[in-house]
């Protein structure tokens, strides 16, 4: 994992919490979520124009002209985020592997491929076996749930689905935004199929995100009613053991070797706690400092 200044484990209220999302990832996710919601709310009244709620929603934004503008700004932001994420991935690839390997003269393409293969979100053979183990579990064939790493197959599915969805929606979106420019290079039917593709892909994305992703992220048996992961970036220990067992073991091993990666918030709170005498003393010192200074001034 990329080393950031955050502790791998935080202890709060006697419970250990494990780092899963670093601040950059959290921010990217916030931007993705917000642009997604804006795009849906400005886009669906057009897609479903025949429903009675369509007109009021468009009026809420201030009419169709403004609705379109919001839709386009959100769309551009989302595509920009998409490109930023590519940069983010390559930046880490260089910073964590390529440059150190080259500098220590131990670079090899095979190892680079391994680096990519074992990076957190990359789909691996294990995900396929995990999926089948899961199917066996839900069909009552076994009582054992598969053990997962930092991101399990559902999260990888959601992640890579976005890698498909944003290019499709972005590209078709641009063709629909500038149909005159688009048809100077492409035949007319390209705009017609962009219209269909944009509309249908949007519905697919919404149905998968609003139901599947929300269920996995917040509503399943472990996390109901909400998981704080997207806000804090940390997961509590019981959830880690239940769903991310391999990652739980991995982080435990890391903090055993390097206890400075643990931040004990309980202990810190203890130390910060002042007795009543100490509190009063601090107040009186403050007052005497300020009043003493004023007396000093007036003497002159």
């Amino acid at each position: 994992m990329a080393k950031c200044n955050l502790p791998l484990v935080k202890i709060k209220n006697g419970e250990r919490h494990y780092l899963k999302l670093n601040p950059s990832q959290k921010l990217q996710h916030y931007i993705l979520a917000i642009t997604f919601v804006l795009l849906v709310v400005t886009g669906f009244p057009l897609k479903f124009y025949y429903y009675p709620w369509a007109e009021p929603v468009i009026q809420f934004f201030g009419g169709l002209t403004v609705t379109r503008i919001i839709h386009r700004i959100s769309g551009v932001t989302m595509v920009a985020l998409f490109f930023y994420h590519w940069y983010y991935l390559f930046k880490h690839m260089f910073r964590l592997y390529v440059i150190p390997a080259v500098k220590t003269k131990s670079f090899s393409f095979k190892e680079l491929v391994l680096f990519i293969y074992y990076s957190p979100m990359f789909p691996r053979w294990k995900d396929i076996t995990d999926f089948f183990d899961f199917v066996k579990f839900v069909l009552f064939i076994t009582n054992k749930r598969p053990e997962h790493e930092r991101f399990h197959w559902r999260e990888k599915f959601d992640y890579w689905a976005v890698f498909w969805g944003i290019p499709v929606l972005g590209l078709t979106g641009v063709l629909l935004w500038y149909p005159a420019w688009a048809t100077s290079y492409l035949p007319g039917w390209a705009v017609n199929i962009s219209y269909i593709a944009h509309s249908d892909e949007a519905l697919l994305a919404v149905s998968v995100i609003f139901i599947w992703h929300m269920y996995n992220a917040h509503l399943n048996y472990d996390k109901f009613p909400m998981s704080p992961l997207f806000i804090t970036g940390y997961l509590p220990e019981d959830l880690m053991k239940h769903e991310y067992y391999i990652e739980w073991k991995r982080i435990n091993k890391l903090v055993e070797m390097d206890p400075s990666q643990i931040e004990d918030l309980d202990k810190a709170k203890e130390l910060e706690k002042q007795t009543d005498e100490e509190k009063i003393k601090a107040v009186r010192e403050q007052i005497s400092f300020l009043s003493g200074k004023e007396e000093g001034d007036s003497d002159e």
Partner: protein, 348 residues
């Protein structure tokens, strides 16, 4: 005995002067049709079983486009009171309106001539099925609209003021307010769109969305396919300059009565020329030839438009293929969670 003359005189007075209207703009009714037609209850069930209402609200009529026309100007077959069944009005009649300068009698017959050159004439060779009764007559698209909305409408004209403020200026030279307000309404009404955009679409929809018409005349359902496009939605949501049927199917500077068949090279939507219609200054000024090929009336049909059909099919398959399995897994997991230790297979 003299006292009893008063109520009789009163009755006679009321009888003879009942046609007097106290509104400033009185309708021209020297034949006194209002004697009967002013009663709201005047109605009859016709031979086909429909209730026909014959009430004429003279105040409303006075505010309408046809206010200066006498009743018999359009209903030319009424010769006496009480009259026989009136025939349907022929809008190309010369009514008694005269041109204020030339004295020429006015008539809509020029419009009929234009309409006969368009696709809405069953004798046009480009028509698929020449079934006369399906083709529109004047009243199928036009009603007798009111000027009443002028005041509010005018606010929407850029930089305009209150109707009364404008009319005040006429008062200095022209005496009769009823004359100059009529003239003002006549021009101001046409300064805005004759029909609001949504109303144009609603007018054409009356025939062009009926499934039986579509079948009979071997057309696509022009109305519903149009409403599915961005243009149709833009008109519904009041986007400025959004094109209605008339916006694309009528050539610039030509009458809406002259909608030509798309197979006619002079038509605004003729294959090779379509992009010029798109290229209007208010719409897509940079349109090139291929833009005319963007279909506005898409039907998802394998034979008609395969590209769109397979795209729609592909995405439907993708959506269901992703959504259904995921939902299945979700439900299965929920059920499984109710019985965490209940495996069926025995331990080895």
């Amino acid at each position: 005995m003299r006292k009893c003359y008063v109520p009789i005189l009163l009755l006679l007075f009321l009888l003879f002067y009942s046609s007097l209207s106290f509104a400033e703009e009185a309708i021209l009714d020297d034949e006194n049709c209002s004697m009967c037609h002013k009663y709201p209850g005047l109605s009859r069930v016709n031979d086909e079983g429909y209730l026909r209402l014959f009430y004429i609200n003279s105040h409303k009529f006075a505010q309408s486009l046809h206010t200066k026309v006498k009743c018999t100007g359009c209903h030319t077959d009424i010769k006496k009171i009480p009259h026989d069944d009136a025939k349907k009005v022929d809008c190309s009649t010369e009514c008694h309106i005269e041109h204020p300068e030339t004295g020429e009698k006015f008539s809509h017959k020029n419009i009929s001539k234009i309409l006969n050159k368009s696709i809405h004439n069953p004798e046009n060779p480009n028509v698929n099925k020449a079934i006369e009764e399906d083709f529109p007559k004047c009243t199928d698209c036009h009603s007798n609209p009111l000027y009443l909305s002028i005041a509010e409408d005018l606010q929407k004209l850029h930089g305009s003021r209150d109707a009364d403020e404008i009319l005040q200026k006429c008062d200095a030279c022209h005496e009769k307010r009823s004359f100059y307000s009529y003239f003002f309404n006549h021009v101001a009404y046409r300064a805005r769109h004759l029909f609001p955009a949504e109303k144009i679409v609603d007018t054409c929809i009356k025939c062009h969305s009926k499934p039986e018409m579509v079948e009979k005349h071997e057309l696509k359902n022009a109305a519903s396919t149009y409403l599915d496009t961005f243009h149709g939605k833009a008109v519904k949501f009041n986007l400025d300059n959004a094109p209605t049927c008339v916006g694309c199917h009528v050539k610039d500077n030509s009458s809406a009565h002259l909608i030509l068949s798309h197979e006619n090279p002079n038509s605004a939507v003729y294959e090779g020329n379509r992009y010029k219609t798109c290229r209007d200054d208010r719409c897509h000024p940079s349109a090139t030839k291929n833009m005319g090929d963007i279909k506005m009336h898409v039907v998802i049909d394998k034979n008609m438009y395969p590209a769109e059909y397979y795209t729609a099919l592909g995405f439907t398959a993708l959506t269901l293929g992703a959504f259904v399995p995921l939902m299945l897994l979700l439900l299965l997991e929920l059920i499984r969670e109710m019985f965490p230790n209940l495996k069926i297979r025995k331990d080895k």
